[in-house]
């Protein structure tokens, strides 16, 4: 295993610990007012979500020179499967396995498979929900013969319409940030950024 992989594991552990700590310290995020109804998600509930949509390359920052390069990727497909477990009212921790595939302008295929731990806050404005979340983990990437594993941080939100007591449908928009480190080739160090826009289907377990 190369050394950046250990770094990725460390980021995973830190992200999980930070998420857990935040969960303990944060209060009930529900705004129980005339506008927002009581949050239906209690501790012990769980959500299983499927997402499918588009992914876009946004950013390619040369970390050695501080300059921006072209990412040279066309629009691609993004998908994910996540499991979120509520540890407090309206606050969940969980994990997600996903993928993003996109073609490059030279005809190569870029593929990223992030595996992340996620913390999400569920704000309810029935029948709608706004679910901002932060996730951190590691992502396997391939471009032709090249492959690498790097840490990944994801920031975004799901915008859901609660179709029934069990199902919610909506849209996710999320920014992926992937710092890519090569200890043997420091000139190759980059920060990549992607935008995920996916349709979301959430099942309340």
């Amino acid at each position: 295993m190369n050394r950046p992989s250990f770094r990725a594991i460390a980021v995973l552990a830190v992200a999980l610990a930070a998420s857990a700590a935040f969960a303990q310290e944060s209060g009930d995020p529900t705004v129980d007012s005339g506008t927002f109804r009581t949050n239906p998600y209690e501790s012990g509930d769980a959500l299983l979500s499927f997402r499918l949509g588009a992914g876009f390359g946004l950013l390619n920052l040369d970390l050695s020179e501080g300059s921006f390069d072209e990412l040279n990727l066309g629009p691609g497909a993004a998908f994910s499967l996540s499991y979120m477990h509520f540890v407090a009212r309206g606050f969940a921790l969980g994990g997600e396995l996903g993928g993003l595939v996109a073609g490059s302008i030279a005809g190569r295929t870029f593929f990223a498979a992030p595996l992340v731990f996620r913390a999400s806050w569920h704000f309810v404005l029935s029948p709608f929900e706004i679910v901002p979340s932060v996730a951190a983990g590691a992502t396997l990437q391939r471009l032709g013969e090249l492959s690498h594993v790097d840490p990944i941080v994801r920031l975004g939100a799901d915008w859901l319409w609660r179709q029934s007591a069990d199902w919610g449908l909506g849209l996710r928009t999320e920014l992926w940030l992937i710092p890519q480190f090569y200890l043997d080739y420091p000139d190759s160090n980059r920060l990549g950024g992607f935008l995920e826009t996916t349709l979301t289907a959430t099942y309340h377990l």
Binding site: M1, P4, N60, D69, V87, R108, L115, L146, Y185, N189
Partner: protein, 362 residues
């Protein structure tokens, strides 16, 4: 919390498996992406054809793909050059830096035209070649050459004798006696001497003064298909046997590249990681199959099987691996390498001073 703990453990185990299964490549993924150029620059007219040549004149590249095309060095679309002879193909070209000389032929007749970048000059006289048929143009040292061949009959197009002509009307023949059997494959100048390839032999001497003679020592690599002058008394010859031979001023030293290959051209370019690499292009011929090209070290003449000195293995495999290459052109000034493939158009690879972009279709 028990569910969360189990999920966390499962994710951690899966992470460890994925992390442990991967190794980094020689080039960063995002860096590699940043170096890409479009695989198709929009010239679909080239995609199923065999380009004959690429040359540079001033701020434009010129390609012989059926007719004569040009595009700006800085990028842009290929467009036909106006004023070319109707019904004739652009089969060969050479430049002295101020003018482009192009050989057009329709199989029966030929014409050598001169282009200054914006207009055609009167056709060059070729009365000096007699009944010989023009085959290719070469510019070496300070002289424009026209290699020619003679055939027995119209029904038998095999060239039975050949020569190289220069001077006014191409009246000066490089060989006092035209050698028999096939066309002249190459002509280079190493800053001291001309070297020419014909059949299994290499000739040397003053080509522009009619003084090419057979070298006393020969490379012994079968039909010599290409020559590369690397400096004074340093010449590399490529052979139909799949070998190269290196002339150091006193002897030829052969090196086997791939006995299953028919080497067709040689070009020396910068190597990713430093130094240079010699590309030995290969094409299908007889029982020999198309192999793209070989990356040959000029230090020990070993072959880099990974193809990562001028491109990534994947890019090579998805573009040129199974293609025959008839000619390469390297523009050192702007770092662009062209490959003329057999039946799959024109490809280019960009050097940014550190890395190669990978092969992209022109």
């Amino acid at each position: 919390m028990k569910h969360l703990a189990r999920a966390t453990l499962a994710l951690a185990l899966l992470s460890a498996v994925i992390l442990g299964a991967c190794t980094a490549g020689p080039l960063g993924i995002f860096e590699s992406l940043s170096l890409e150029t479009p695989v198709d620059n929009g010239t679909e007219a080239f995609s199923g054809l065999t380009p004959n040549f690429v040359v540079r004149l001033g701020a434009d590249y010129y390609a012989g793909v059926g007719t004569l095309w040009k595009r700006p060095v800085g990028g842009g679309a290929w467009n036909p050059v106006p004023g070319t002879p109707d019904g004739m193909l652009a089969t060969s070209a050479a430049t002295d830096g101020s003018a482009l000389f192009v050989l057009f032929t329709d199989g029966d007749s030929s014409v050598v035209k001169e282009w200054d970048g914006s207009a055609w000059a009167p056709d060059l006289a070729t009365t000096g070649i007699g009944t010989m048929k023009p085959d290719a143009l070469h510019y070496a040292d300070t002289t424009l050459f026209l290699s020619v061949g003679a055939t027995d009959t119209e029904a038998d197009p095999d060239v039975t004798s050949a020569n190289i002509h220069s001077g006014l009307g191409f009246a000066t023949a490089a060989f006092a006696t035209a050698p028999t059997g096939g066309i002249v494959k190459a002509l280079v100048h190493d800053s001291l001497t001309y070297y020419s390839a014909h059949a299994d032999d290499v000739y040397s001497g003053d080509a522009d003064a009619g003084g090419l003679t057979t070298m006393a020592l020969q490379p012994a690599i079968g039909t010599v298909t290409a020559l590369l002058a690397r400096g004074a008394d340093v010449v590399v010859a490529a052979g139909a046997s799949g070998s190269v031979a290196v002339w150091d001023g006193s002897a030829w030293t052969p090196h086997v590249i791939d006995s299953a290959a028919y080497l067709s051209d040689l070009v020396e370019v910068p190597a990713h990681g430093g130094g240079t690499v010699i590309l030995a292009a290969a094409r299908g011929f007889g029982t020999k199959v198309a192999r793209g090209y070989y990356e040959v070290s000029p230090l020990d003449w070993s072959v880099n099987e990974d193809h990562d000195l001028v491109t990534t293995t994947t890019n090579y495999q998805t573009t040129l691996e199974d293609l025959g290459i008839v000619e390469c052109f390297w523009d050192a000034a702007d770092g662009i390498l062209f490959a003329c493939t057999v039946g799959d158009g024109l490809w280019s690879n960009h050097w940014n001073g550190t890395s190669w972009s990978g092969w992209n279709r022109e």
